[in-house]
């Protein structure tokens, strides 16, 4: 069994959660310290399959010193955050760009597309 300490993000209470679990076994997760159901669900996800939406910017070739904002269309595994951030640094788009334009399909093999989040003319 493994033990981890987490802060719940469900509300401003920020309950200190203690989670014990067998890695890879969702049914084994035991959560204490939570004061509501949301805390338990958060902790289970966080120790079995933590994900984050990664946001950042990519360069615009034809706009001197300007960038366009992007995000992963769906949350990606937490351990891919830095891979995605590095991939963003290498991508160059050509303005104009519109919200929803795909900046990179299946970024870093996460299955999630990197999409533009701002309209830049």
């Amino acid at each position: 069994m493994e033990t981890r300490h987490l802060t719940c993000i469900g509300c401003p209470m920020g309950c200190q959660l203690t989670v014990t679990f067998e890695p890879g076994n969702r049914d084994s997760v035991k959560v204490t310290g939570n004061t509501c159901k949301r805390g338990e669900l958060y902790a289970i996800d966080e120790v079995t399959n933590p994900t984050r939406t990664v946001t950042g910017t990519v360069r615009l070739k034809n706009r001197h010193m300007k960038v366009a904002p992007v995000k992963t269309k769906t949350p990606v595994p937490k351990d891919k955050i830095f891979d995605v951030a590095e991939a963003m640094m290498k991508i160059e788009l050509e303005a104009p760009v519109r919200i929803g334009d795909i900046a990179c399909a299946d970024v870093c093999g996460t299955g999630s597309d990197l999409v533009v989040t701002g309209n830049i003319d």
Binding site: G10, P12, C36, T55, T57, T117
Partner: protein
Amino acid sequence: MKTKIAIIGGGPAGLAAAIAAKEAGVEEVLIIERDRVLGGILNQCIHNGFGLHTFKEELTGPEYAARFIEKAKELNVEALLNTIVIDISRDKVITAMSAEKGVFTIEAEAIVLAMGCRERPRGALNTPGYRPAGIYSAGTAQRYVNIEGKMPGHDVVILGSGDIGLIMARRMTLEGAKVHAVAELMPYSGGLKRNIVQCLDDFDIPLKLSTTVVDIAGKDRVESVTLAKVDAKNKPIPGTEEIIKCDTLLLSCGLLPENELSSQMGVDLSPITGGPRVDESLETDIDGVFACGNVLHVHDLVDYVSKEATEAGEHAAEFVKGASKRDSEAAIGIETGNGVRYTVPVCIRKSRLRDLLTVRFRVGNVYKDPEICVYLGDKCIQRRKKQICAPGEMEQVILKKTDIEAMNSGETIRIAIENESK
């Protein structure tokens, strides 16, 4: 130039107010915006988490803004960009300036103040040391990185754990900088728990509570900052100093409503919020001048800004149609009871009430298991149990017109925090 409703500022508040005024049937609605695009601060807030209440999905700042900008375009809201307002007179003549038009005036029948807020600058913090390059407010750094595509530095310390500071800790890290610490003067962070976990814990960035900057070294460029623990009176404790080598110090130490224009025109301002005192219609003490968004009081969620600004736009529309003039009716005051720092609005006129009125407020401390109580005169009419109330989270109560109408003359409304566990 003449218009029915002039809206000062084209950020989330100004956009929502303009849309609401147009939808209420006012033909001439004019937004005056100093930037070259609409959307305000949302354009540089490229992280996600916006719009969960309004759109039931998590958007980034520019995506949230774009939805309102498109709507405003559809409704033919007129917008003057690259134009800064330099004065507003009490009889609603706006003096503005742009490269294209020079100095010119706009006569308006109603005005909505939607100028937003500013970050507390270094000058207001009494941090010692020289004035080297490398000290930025978190929002300035955010603009450099997210709009201009430039990094302000590589070794970073952040003072203040407001949400912008936390967001920038993550942002700088993902752009390859090393964020050494976030120092917070208070024994708790004013930022959202979600941001503490996802912006600091995820990247092992230490949050040092009850800690402040006592020295900044470097003459041309920041070379290091010295942190120290503070006691209960926020005085640095000798012997607890820690020197951190860095080239950049970001400040995230609170937001201040930007009311230079309001105070110039003589609007009555609250010393607590720094924003105008408004009534149930979000109207200031000057007839036909309304306020909404962060210029009125600093919000934590843009969804609430949009909602509040929609109300302000609707009330401004009623005003120009002549349906809602203030007469000699006495206002009922809303008093702040135990734990409540301020309320918006501060007073109510019965005749102008809609069926339901949202009163927004903030508490002054962290309260566990409190009850939010509403008194009309001596009678408690609402008692709502909460798990927690904290200064960082805006609270609200909803008042019913029927309850207010039943009040006796001379009675006031009071909102208070009671029965919290110690």
